[in-house]
């Protein structure tokens, strides 16, 4: 309530900051105490993003002193909420937005429903995850390299070629695996069920789902992990996923079977979508024009959250093992996850059209 008033006050504050010529990045942190922050999540309650936001909200509220309201606006695979945020949100630092891979992908692919622009947003927080590929032991192989060598016919239960499944589908193709994608799965859990009923032979899950739901299968001998997607180091290079240090990552497997490191437009594309879907899967963003002191307030609060014993004790179990970042590190990830070289973009669009008759 009192939005007009609030708007005016922040308008004046912005004008004051701008007028005094403070560079935004050096500004002092604003005080969020007692303010009401509205955090929009462009998904239904109950999904991964909802869980992430529900976990972060009380901690962020504790360290900002603000009251945080979550607003779920599902639709269009998150494009609806993102469009809405892009068109309505004020750059007053009190309206933040939670993106996810499903928000990044249509943007990177140039989906016609997208009316938002990541270039107009600024990240406050970046969340990471990873993914693990596993196969049915009946295939008779134990490693990715052997799988490529033997090359049996396999099926994969997919949510759709332009979803996060773009990353596995492209990876399978580039390794030369004989995988037939069967679409129409209602989420990764449905894909996992198809694997468990024996209808598919190859599947992947994000790290936390893998740890809790697939590890028991591995233990009882009905699934074998063969590779992870990998992770990003501080310089943006692909490395082994620290959560699964014993599993080779995709580029490693590629090099092993093809004899050379992956490169070219297809790999640029794969990497861009991989980053946007996994190591930089979720961002908390604000409009770019948001005053620097506001951004600083969030960054400071998040830094405190990351050191909060409560956060450290519960984070692994509730949102996964990967560290979250703010500040410069988040900006770097943001850049990597929201830009794709034009040639790579063209390549992947053509590939989707040719292979899966996706119309753009």
């Amino acid at each position: 309530m009192g939005k007009i008033l609030k708007g005016t006050i922040y308008g004046l504050a912005v004008a004051a900051v701008a007028g005094l010529g403070f560079p935004a990045s050096d500004a002092k942190a604003a005080d969020l105490k007692g303010k009401t922050i509205s955090w929009m999540i462009p998904f239904k309650e109950g999904g991964g993003s909802g869980r992430w936001a529900r976990f972060m909200t009380p901690l962020l509220a504790k360290h900002t002193g603000a009251n945080i309201q979550l607003k779920f606006v599902p639709g269009g695979g998150s494009t609806k909420g993102a469009n809405l945020y892009a068109s309505r949100a004020k750059a007053n630092g009190l309206e933040v937005f939670g993106t996810s891979g499903s928000t990044q992908f249509p943007f990177l692919l140039g989906d016609k429903r997208v009316k938002y622009d990541y270039g107009k947003w600024r990240p406050l927080l970046a969340y990471a995850t990873g993914g693990v590929v596993y196969i049915n032991p009946k295939l008779g192989v134990k490693t990715a390299a052997d799988l490529v060598k033997k090359n049996p016919a396999m099926k994969y239960g997919s949510q759709g070629a332009t979803s996060l499944d773009l990353v596995p589908l492209l990876a399978f193709e580039m390794l030369g695996l004989n995988v037939k994608a069967v679409f129409g799965m209602k989420g990764r859990s449905a894909g996992r069920k198809a694997f468990m009923t024996g209808e598919t032979e190859i599947d992947y899950q994000t790290s936390s789902a893998y740890l809790s739901k697939v590890t028991p299968l591995v233990k009882e001998g009905s699934a074998i992990p063969i590779m992870s997607w990998g992770a990003l180091d501080a310089n943006g290079n692909l490395t082994r996923d620290p959560t699964f240090p014993n599993l080779p990552h995709f580029a490693e497997v590629y090099k092993q079977v093809k004899g050379k490191a992956p490169s070219g437009a297809w790999f640029d594309a794969w990497k861009a979508f991989f980053v946007a879907g996994f190591p930089a899967q979720k961002f908390m963003v604000v409009p770019k024009e948001t005053p620097g002191d506001m951004v600083k307030a969030y960054q400071d609060a998040l830094t405190k959250v990351f050191a909060d014993p409560d956060y450290l004790a519960q984070k692994d179990k509730k949102i996964g093992k990967y560290p979250q970042v703010t500040g410069k590190a988040a900006e770097l990830k943001f850049k990597a996850a929201t830009s794709v070289p034009p040639a790579a973009k063209k390549w992947v669009r053509d590939w989707l059209t040719k292979k899966y008759s996706v119309k753009f």
């Binding site: 009192g2 509205s38 607003k71 809790s212 028991p216």
Partner: protein, 663 residues
Amino acid sequence: MLEALTEAFTILFTIQHLTYMVVGVLLGLVVGVFPGLGGIVGLSLCIPFLHGMDPVSALAMLVGLVAVIPTSDTFTSVLMGIPGSSASQATVLDGFPLAKKGEAARALGAAFSASLFGGLFGAFILTFFVLIARPVILFFTTAELFMLAVLGISMVGVLSGQNIWKGVASCGLGLVIGAIGGAPATGEWRMTFDINYLADGIPLVVVGLGVFAFPEVVDLLRKSGTIAKGATLGKGWLHGLQDMFRNRWLCLRCAGIGTLIGAIPGLGGSVVDWIAYGHVVQTSKDKSKFGTGDIRGVLAPESANNAKEGGGLIPTLLFGIPGSGSMAVFIGGLILIGLEPGPRLLTAELPTTYTIVWTLAFANVVGAGLCLFLSPVIARLTTIRYHLLAPFMLMVISFAAFQASRDLMDFIALVLIGLLGVGMKRFGWSRPALLIGFVLADQVEVYLYQAIQFHEWSFLTRPGVIVLAIITVISVFLGARNKPQAEEEVHDVTSVHAADLRPQLIFSGFVGIVFLYALYDSTKHSTLGSVFTMGVGAVMLVAAIFVIKGVWQSGGEQNTFNYDEERPGVASFKVPEKGIWYFLIWIIGLLGLTALTGFFIALNVFFVAFLRLEAKATWVRTVVLTLMADAILMFLSWLMTLDLPWGLLQHKVIDLPWPIGSI
């Protein structure tokens, strides 16, 4: 197992556990009474409080809430003809006619005792089922799921009303509406007219409300008076309880059906009540009363839909595969309290699973008990003059529809589907058949495609598929054994037949055009993306042509083709004085004003205008009722952090404070 059960009951009967369970039950009651809010909203409201709660209490609260939603949503289904949630849609068919006859208390009594019974029996089955759940659930591959969906569709046979062609075409309408949006196999946008809203498909809540609640509101307004004939309540809830005992075997069967179908992930809970309803119609010798207030039509879906929740817990807990939207939120809640779903809940953590199952059962007892206790009071609503109630009904329906995807388009879709519902009701097309088609459209298509991909056509020879096919054939046979008399409307067919055939022809023609459009649209897509709409369009076009031909040839004769509530050829049937369009224009006016000024302002204007002009209320009463509506609306949207729909005013002109504008 016994050890685990003992441990579970020790936890269950602690004061702390029971207290939090009751808190969950109370919250669930409040939320569940509002149509469209249901489990997802209730759980979302709980979740912020889970932090810092100890897991036992948090779990008790969550489960208590989940348990009571399919109980409390019965109120509006029976009393207003507004399906409280997708689980109570079938309850409307006989529950609401009972309320209209002045037997609301009896219907509620039967519904709640059936809920209670269903919940308890469901928990009993689950206690054993949990142990064999894994192989059973994994037995249902996409091939079996496809056959289950076909079994669901076959229920149209008994729910098609008096004219089988109209019934089939109604189901076809549902299938076509259900096919709107992204094609499951290819993601192509079908029949979306380039409207982003349609890309996600029309939400089930909107279709359910549009098809059932909307025509009822219009109908009741025209007849004026009260919902219950003569404003009496008739026999009490004890009578309903007796009804349940008399039909205990039916309730037992339906509870079993509910538990098992609920436990199979992928079919979705929204079809359970229809299968139970179809089951009771098929197996009854005397079908003549169904649709006009047969108490068995209330007992069957209500005993099934509570049992379903327990069944739905199994894949949720064991595999982390949510069977429904509310189960997805439930998983989120479990993880927040540090309980990760997984196979361990079957072995090391079996006591936890049993605690959950039996908390669900006891929450059912408490919830149904409370509802029974409240029902005589709440049933009085049916004795209030409907013109005073109507604006509230419209507010509740619009809010519920809007809650589906928080978009003004929800409201527009509601009115359009509502118009379709009004036409179907008037001309005797089966609205349940439409809903079944709608609910199963996606599943039939997806599972058939996936089954062929995974197993090729040999999926038809899988044992599970063959068994289900046999059940389907038996079910169709049972349904056809006695020429089904189930007509959803109260009127006797011989008293209503049209003297003027033009409105009929226009409506049937419109249905034909829908199928033609589906056919046309299918030509724009790839084989995989078009085969479903093409098949449905072609087959249903034939059905529609049969209907048109039937109407055309009926002449002045009385038959089921030319059923028309508005143009009776028999003088004994009275048509209300005010036409259908009179009140439709009121509703469309509310929609139009919402598009201009946003929902909050529009609703206030509507309340004042309607109460003054139509209900002839005094100014004092008008103001009091309008403020009451505002309070309810603000409370709900505040609770749910919801911006009410904006109009041009908010989009283009000015920033306004909540609730008119944004939070």
